[in-house]
Amino acid sequence: MTTVDSSNATPEVAVDPNAVSVTINGKVVAARKGEMIIAAADRTDDFIPRFCYHPRMEPVGMCRQCLVEVVGPRGPMMVVSCMTPVADGQVVNTETEGVKKAQEGVLELLLANHPLDCPVCDKGGECPLQDQAFSHGPGESRFVEEKRHYEKPIAISENVYLDRERCILCDRCTRFADEVAGDALISFTSRGNNTQVMTFPDEPFSSYFSGNTVQICPVGALTAKPYRFKARPWDIEHVESTCTTCSVGCRTVVQSSRDELVRYQGVDSQPVNWGWLCDKGRFNFESINSKDRLTTPLIKDASGNLSATSWSVAIDSAARMLRTALTVSPQSVAFIGGARGTNEDAFAWAQLANALGVDSRDSQMADGLPPQVFSLPQATIADIDTAKTIILLAPDLKEELPVLYLRVRHAAEKRAGRVVEVSPRATGLAGKAWKKVHVEPGKTAAALRALATDAAFTAQLASGSVVVIVGRMNLAESEESVVHALAEVLHMAPHATVLPVLRRGNVRGAITAGLTPRNGGKSTAEILEAAAAGKIECLVLLGADPLSDVPDADLARRGISGARNIIAIDTFITQSSALADIVLPAAAYGEKEGTTTNVEGRISNVAQSITPVGTSRPDWMIAVELGTATSHDLGVASYNELHAAMISGVREFAPAVDTHAVQHDGVIVAHPTPITLTRTDSASSERNSYDYRAVVSRKLYDNAIGTAKSPSLATLGETSAVIVNPLDVPRIGAQVGESVRVTSPRGSIALPLHESVDVLRGTAWLPINLGGSDVRELLDVAKDVIDLKIEKMS
């Protein structure tokens, strides 16, 4: 061994042990070990045709379209590039005569049984089979036999249609259903030349993610009812945007034709959604096209009915209302809502509130978390991929944040990380959980504290990074109990990072922009209590409908009826806006531009695709106009000025200065200096042994306006029910399916009795906001927990 004079040594370059270099068609391409040839080739100009390969799913190598030649010791070898990993020094040829012949052969075979109904096929014009037949096909077909025939198309679910004649059996939809969504409700059936994709007889493909199969279908075999025969691809205008149905912030392409929204498609954003969307987010564009949209301002007339008016009258009247209230006191004015709009909308309203001296503003609807959770060390969605432990202290992600559910499911499936489910009932991820801590409401923190003595658990926490996904797992349990539980977790795993999951579209952006109580201002529940006590002169509802959305029906009723005046900014007449004095029509998603902030604090753009319906305007514009009318010039005259003011005015939004990033994968907000949570002893409430402790949570398809006004989604919701453990059914004395009386200290309603092993004994699960009896009649947001009596009807 020789010694080297360190002064002469070249500076050390860190060699990436996974870096390899391959030659594709004579060009050197840098790649990583484990990567497939097709993925490396996608970074060159040479396109390898493919059908079954999808970068977000395990390769199967079955369509055989991506055959290429790899030069081996015994000459060129024909391999499928989707399942052949790169190797250092590998020489790949994708354009030789042999490859061309093989690819043309496969294409001719794929077309052999494919019907030529392209002119009436939704996929025509954006069809990978059509495009690749053009670019890599033989140009003629010698197949003169009778093609395969099947009934076409058949509905395999409410929204997805399957045309088996067009299907080329690439396994994308079936793989997606099984591998990605975990809903293996479609499968290949039969064999050989008779192979088909099918559901089980009379059992539909009812997956929350079914629309993705339509998007990834490389032919027109799968089509979606909301889009069928609506448009031709070449007539469609595309803008890249961010879905704000929930707070995951999936990147989408919003597509319109003749100034009407026709389709949303997922965009593969590495940090967020990997191209997937849930069906609710995908199909709720229908609500924006709804005939029920508000198109003009409304004002209460002499007889107390809302009737159409002009913007100038409406703004003047609203300004007068605000000024009158402010003369009583700024505390008698309150803003509820703002989570539905953009960051800019929320910023403008917060600016107006500041100018007016309104401290009671809250974009959460008495079902959120204290904003301090954003000051804990933050995790990103992508951190889930690499976390050793993922602790779910959260609502059922499958129901509330579906695409986040896919990400956690993926991590568990790949055994990348272990999932710990802390919940009062089994959620959609229970089957993937390494450890399940199912504990009745009110005892979560104590149960977690007890885990400190579980050696396997603590060893798991110590083994690496921990991501805690925290949210309201039970709306019948106070936010404090979630904070207590979180404090216990962070005590055991001080290195953990937190992903707070507040589900409303842009709630994080709204809070960050300032729509959260300040200087001792009131929260939504407090505002409604104050209104009920006659202390609110003017209540402004920013796309908020407390009557149907606050998980306490009695409080909402008292609050709305107690407020002297109500100004509603909304897209529809809702239960609450119907009672307003003035209703201002707001531009909806797709009708305005802006930015939004997702669950992890990622700021990305929402784009305008169509003109706002009627005379509706973006929320921010209404705030600016109200400012002017109340002599508070907000100092912005255009969206761009507002956006710039927001970036410079709100420290967290500063990274949004990178416009290019905001318009693609987004940027993460600037985090404040982290705080630490202190553990407190939470007293667990005593209970009567005849009672059932209430577990209240949301289902994906509920009465939310965007769902209710989308015909393709409106019928998918279930009806309310009380669901108990099967072992508790005999105790109640009623049959499953029978209507039972459910009583809380707050109220009493009749609900059908259901059973599920997902529910703990002694607890009752009541999905909220569905058709049928209103579960919110039982709830009281002031209580830590709610105990119910369930009785057979006499």
């Binding site: 079955m62 399942m83 093989a102 052969g105 075979l109 049984n113 010698r142 036999e145 064999r191």
Partner: protein, 474 residues
Amino acid sequence: MTTAIRYPHATGFVAGDRPKIVTSRFEHADSFTLERFLSTGGYAGLRKALGRVATDVHEEVKSATVLGRGGAGFPAGTKWGLTPQQVFPKYLVVNGDESEPGTYKDRLLMERDPHQLIEGCLIACYAAGLSQCFLYIRGEMALAQERVATALNEAYAAGYVGKNILGSKFSVDIVLHWGAGAYVVGEETALIESLEGNRGMPRLKPPFFPAANGLYGQPTIVNNVETLANLPWLMVNGSEAYTAIGTKTSPGTRMVAVSGHVKNPGVFEIINGTTTFRDLLYGAEFCGGIRNDNELKAFVPGGGSAPWFTADQLDLPFEASQVGPAGSMLGSGAIMVMDSTTDIPAAALTLTHFYAHESCGKCTPCREGGTWLERILTRIVEGTGTEADLQQILEVGAMICPGDFPHASNEKLGLTAVPFPYKMTTICFVGPSAFAPLHSAITLFRSEFEARLVKRISIPVTAVSTTSKVLASQ
């Protein structure tokens, strides 16, 4: 305990006066019982193996070069050694899904000497450190399933299988598994899929080489029934005795079924590497010649997937290193003989139909191409095919197997051999197999296909023009 159920005794096996490694008990009517097995040296190989260090047993099998009898001919001992050292558990999957056209040997071994197979499985598990054994029997083989189930029940009760075998620290379960009718499941990765409860669709190798990534993603050894049946004899007699039979590259014996147009069709245990096709077809101790002393037209040398041979290849021995370069393969030890009366296009159609029918549907070329070939060939056999159809068969075949396709030499036709194997655009060999026999049939007997084609009546051009004028004026 033996079964009281009556069976018509399977014929097929022809004993002869040759060394017997796997068929030594076949002469006994009760060869499948534990009593007979024990009284004829049964489980002595296992006892001998357990008295040695596992790795030594593995070495013994390696040095005997026990070639795989399922078709690929890969040495078993070497295969066992390919599993990664530190990944557990490892599994043994026994391939008893015999269904290659012409093949008839594993069923006999399971029906007539199930304990010998069980003993072989145990030796393999012991030697290679395999934690559990799954014995996959073809679904349609009711008798084999019953005989193996009975034998396993006896063996468990007698302490030969299960916990602490023969009182030793060696413990392994053998689980009887059975299929439900799908030829492709005989392919090892499809067999694993099927054993996992899935559709039997082959996986791509790599990355799914069973030895590294097999059943449940674990290292898995897939061995053919006959391969494992060799192990008890090998353990008792040693690798030297084993390699003393046959040739250096093809030691031991192997079971071969000869069917079709021969005088005495049968299954024979022959000496590997030295016995020639001529011996088998014409030898008095084997088939005794072509039926009615007809002339030999062609024969399939190694199962339905293999390209055909003619009399030119009769003197080739049962030796892979000679059959491959001659343009075909030994495959699964199945010879099907066609005499001069054979309708070649029709015979080829039975095989093309078979492989098209048995395609799993995974790879496009096989799924679409196989059926396409069958439909064109059906037209030709039925007498409505055209010259273009015959050409189209070769074009479709090239979509499944690009490049030169292997075939035998033929002096009369002036053909030189194209060596085996072929290139393929599919994952497994089912797709190419729809083409292989057909291609060799067309190559060797093109005139028979041409004779079936529609003869076009040549119509004078003027006549056509007149007709079209008449049509146009209507």
